[in-house]
Amino acid sequence: MGRSFDQVFESEYRPLRGYLYRRLGSSQADELAAETFAIAYRRWDDLDPSRPARPWLYGIAANLLRHQWRKERRMLRAYARSGKDQTPAQGEDASVERADAEAQKRSLAAALAELRTGEREVLLLHAWADMNDAEIAEALSLPIGTVKSRLHRARKRMRNRLAHSGQVEVKALTTTSEEPR
């Protein structure tokens, strides 16, 4: 096979680290990404040459992430409460963000925090790692039907939660606009 560890590191380290950064922030992302590739290096010969490396790598990362789920939930809840993200994006200036966009993000963080761990894992692999159902199933060693149902439930819960917060937001705006000048 033509695929080497170096090639996989070169192509996958940054995306994986980015995915982990979005989940847990900078320092944890660096640690977990390095640990993921350390395990991958040790177990390189376990990787089936006929299979893509990506789901395998994200599966290793998912196992490491399982021990961080409470921290992730705490961070999401804190963001939902305070509007202050502990994984800030580079160059992002919260002070100039539109209020409705900020409210959306807080609602999104709250919705993510409320998801079951397994649902959040599947949803974020889909949304942030651009993995399809089959890749997620391989990464998490789950039947593809389980992946589909978790993704469906997660999206539904997210949609409901966001719709609910949207209604609250619309009412608040309406009330404000109807106030006498």
């Binding site: 660096d30 390095a34 590739f37 010969d45 409470r70 993200d85 994006a89 580079q90 079951r116 397994g118």
Partner: protein
Amino acid sequence: MTTDEMQLLRDFRNDIPAPDEESVRRAYAYATSQPRAAGPRLSLSRVSPLRLRVVLPAAAAICAAAVALIATGTLAGGGATHTPRPTVHGDQSPGGGLQISYFHSGGALSSIAVTLNPNVANASVQLQVVHSEATSYAEAYAGSTQVVFQKQVSTTTPSASSSALSTWSGTLSPSDWSGGCQSGLYQIKWVAVGPGTSFANAASEPGNEVGASEWFSCTGS
């Protein structure tokens, strides 16, 4: 406002900073410093450009650091050296959700005193001891495990001075575990649920609490 929750999610934390090249090099150097069971050995004529770019500066930096440490007497004085090795351990709650004392006899683990303080009122707790055949923390976390012992206990209300909502203390003995004291690594896992809540799926439900100990060896003292 967008109505597509997936698009909203994709945009969430989308603008993250790229890692600097130094941290990428460190990650690569760390990963490839791991022992590899049956991987290809490095041959000078077959070293990849990426590896050369990373390993040579890393090796030079390590040598320079070692020289500096010796020069300052740190190594000569027997002081502990720090290697920036990423470590990932169990997410143990601050304040001591799980407190453990290990007792050894004849060079092997004989018993473990466990105190658990979940922040779940009137909690029922499921304790598990899992075994991994791995020999390192990282591999144990990433690999499969086997439950060798399981027990459900009821907690009591702790003293008023405790910040926890429930408490339980007890002893675990390797002699009670399936397979006894084996090589590899062990971990104690626990799930605390409130009254009327099932342990099934408890780990992913809000309001419950889960945790795990560090990995430990049973055969070594």
